[in-house]
């Protein structure tokens, strides 16, 4: 299945690139998307198989995330072509619409402390949705991104039952005008892909981009396996946690301030 990386471009002498390429076990080749390359680390070549060398993750600083800001949610809906509960030209009731990411408002019952944060697929290291899926449609990529292979999804919805984060959705009606990079269809499960179509092209997820450019800059995306990445630095320097850390799912999405 795996094809050798393409050899279109000679390796650059750049230190970071060589270090990266060596680590990835490559001799040559990297993305054509150098212009939008990630700040830390390099995107893989387009035809290179993803590997566990990387572990993509997002750090959400809940302290910075303002109540009422939905830049990440709006960007996700726009990028993924999700009608969402706000358009209303579909048949589904609001509680039947997919929401791959949502802003949750929290208030501590005892202290009154309030905060808000986005919740999406947590891209667990040990994802319950993957364990329960009878056909293997729900799976985890080598780089930690949890996806639904809709080609083998039979729509049993066991993954939605199993997800501790309420992050999986079920498509209740036929979908038209899908984005070509984001197939979605009636009768199958779906959820946040961490914008895998962007990551594979060396770009950041839409929510993270929007959070930085329109929101409060509360989200940091990157390769947590790369000690020199911004996210790895923040994870090292700050107290962070995960939602329902007690379950031991070890999410790729981590939070500060919860």
């Amino acid at each position: 299945m795996t094809e050798a990386p393409h050899n279109d471009t000679p390796a650059l002498a750049d230190e970071a690139r060589r270090r990266f390429l060596k680590r990835a076990g490559l001799t040559a080749g990297f993305s054509l998307f150098a212009g939008s390359a990630l700040a830390a680390g390099l995107p893989k070549a387009l035809d290179e198989a993803t590997s566990s060398e990387r572990r993509w993750g997002i750090l959400v600083d809940a302290g910075k995330c303002p109540e009422g800001c939905t830049a990440c949610v709006d960007a996700c809906f726009e990028e993924m072509g999700i009608e969402g509960p706000r358009v209303g030209d579909n048949h589904s009731r609001p509680d039947q619409d997919s929401q791959w990411i949502r802003k949750v408002s929290l208030k501590n019952e005892d202290t009154g402390h309030a905060l808000a944060l986005p919740v999406m697929c947590q891209h667990c290291t040990y994802p319950p949705c993957v364990d329960v899926c009878p056909t293997g449609a729900s799976f985890k990529r080598a780089d930690g991104i949890v996806l639904v292979d809709r080609h083998v999804c039979i729509g049993c919805r066991y993954c939605i039952m199993a997800c501790p984060y309420k992050a999986r959705c079920f498509v209740h009606e036929a979908i038209h005008d899908q984005e070509p990079y984001m197939p979605r269809g009636k009768g199958t499960a779906e959820g946040c892909t961490m914008c895998v179509h962007r990551i594979d092209h060396g770009m950041k997820p839409a929510c993270v981009v929007a959070c930085h450019e329109e929101g409060a800059g509360a989200m940091t995306f990157g390769d947590t396996n790369d000690p020199e990445s911004a996210i790895a630095g923040k994870l090292r320097d700050n107290t962070t946690s995960a939602i329902r850390a007690d379950l031991g799912t070890e999410p790729g999405i981590r939070y500060m301030g919860i």
Binding site: V104, V132, T135, G155, V171, G187, I243
Partner: protein, 418 residues
């Protein structure tokens, strides 16, 4: 020989065919409902992102649980060697298979992509209890076929005990698998518990035996074949014990959840202020589905009356459906706790009790599961010799010491005991 039980197919009668056509129509309506849901998508149902398993799952799980329990009657005869249950065994195995087929049909027809069912046969993830269940269910059908063969064919009768034993073990594992569908859900407090598996086994004893008694009485009495009072009373008391057993497991599950502060909110919802779920639990499952039937089954004034025992069995079935509804729908209606200690709200209904009302297509599909099961039973008893000509007490129990004229249900009884 008057003291030997003979097995006959069911005679042609307008009643039989009327019931057969009724089941056929109900099955067709269910298929139509499934097509309607599949064609439009699940937005036409009461299901949502919060309650993804709706009424079809309630019926499907009930039928699958009852299927394994329906084999009890045969197991008591073959595995535990209780002679009076032996003539009851062929129908027991037939009903078990029929209920499983009905339940699986409902489950499969409610899939988001039922057209891709073949994928469930070609792609397996063996970490999934669902995937294991596919083998447990199909394997159970194979074991049942073999068991029925050993019972109906004299040439292989010797194998009926070992095959029956395999069937008994298989059904225990099968229901463990069904219960574990819920028991393995670590992310939902309403399910995540090892007791789900034994609780489902206890429920299977109860639901399956209730359906067995109903089917047996309907076929025997409906065809004028005698059934002994003692036999019915014996089965009623057995069912009463099973009902008590499932009540016990349900009670222990709730008590454990009440004890832990983490799950007290969940229990307060289900047992006190959950509206329909609270009513279904206390009135449906506990009172009408357990206490009333137990009185009917244990009281000597009622446990020899076919109509009272039938009433009790119907109540057990309805109460069982109510309890499965509370488990499946109620368990999803309770908000998932992502942030313990926090009040939460979101556009995605975090922190709020999910609304669910069954839609007609869901209910019709669910009911058609029963119809399909009974259709299989009707076909079976019509073409193969599943049913004994008589279940009069002196016939089924050599040690019967009761009044000889107790057998009722048809002219044959009178003829025999005269």
């Amino acid at each position: 020989m008057t003291n030997r039980i003979r097995y006959h197919t069911i005679d042609n009668s307008p009643g039989f065919w009327a019931i057969f056509v009724l089941f056929l129509i109900l099955s067709a309506i269910g298929l139509g409902a499934a097509f309607y849901m599949e064609h439009h998508g699940h937005w036409v149902t009461g299901m949502s992102q919060n309650v993804v398993w709706g009424t079809p799952h309630v019926f499907a799980v009930f039928l699958i649980v009852a299927a394994s329990g329906a084999l009890n009657t045969a197991s008591i005869g073959s595995v535990f060697g209780r002679k009076p249950y032996k003539p009851l065994a062929p129908l027991s195995a037939l009903l078990a298979g029929a209920l499983l087929i009905g339940g699986l049909a409902v489950l499969v027809l409610d899939l988001g992509r039922p057209d891709r069912l073949v994928i469930a046969m070609t792609h397996y993830n063996f970490r999934s209890i669902f995937a294991w269940n596919i083998f447990l269910y199909t394997g159970f059908l194979v074991v049942l076929l073999a068991y029925i063969w050993t019972m109906l064919d004299r040439n292989v009768k010797a194998y009926s005990t070992p095959v029956g034993f395999i069937g008994f073990l298989w059904r225990l594992v099968l229901t463990t698998g069904t219960g574990s569908i819920f028991g393995f859900l670590v992310g939902r407090a309403a399910y995540d518990a090892a007791i789900m598996a034994p609780m489902f086994i206890a429920m299977s004893f109860s639901f399956g035996t209730a359906l067995y008694i109903l089917c047996m009485l309907a076929i025997m009495v409906g065809n004028g074949r005698p059934v002994g009072d003692e036999l019915v009373a014996r089965m009623a008391k057995l069912l009463g014990v099973f009902v008590a057993g499932s009540l016990f497991f349900v009670a222990v599950h709730h008590l454990t959840n009440i004890y832990g502060p983490e799950t007290r909110g969940l229990e307060a919802f289900l047992l006190l202020d959950g509206g329909i779920y609270t009513s279904l639990f206390w009135l449906g499952f506990v009172l009408l589905g357990s206490v009333v039937p137990m009185v009917l089954f244990f009281h000597p004034a009622t446990n020899r009356s076919f109509s009272m025992v039938s009433l009790g069995a119907v109540l057990v079935v309805l109460g069982g459906l109510a309890e499965i509804y509370v488990i499946i729908i109620g368990g999803q209606a309770v908000p998932q706790v992502l942030f313990p200690g926090y009040e939460v709200s979101s556009s995605f209904f975090d922190g709020s009790v999910a609304y669910y009302a069954p839609s007609w297509p869901e209910v019709l599909l669910g009911i058609s599961g029963f119809a399909m099961a009974f259709l299989v039973v009707a076909l079976g008893v019509k073409v193969l010799r599943f049913m004994p000509h008589s279940l009069a007490d002196p016939l089924v129990d050599a040690h019967f010491k009761g009044k000889a004229d107790k057998a009722r249900g048809g002219d044959a009884a009178q003829a025999q005991t005269a």
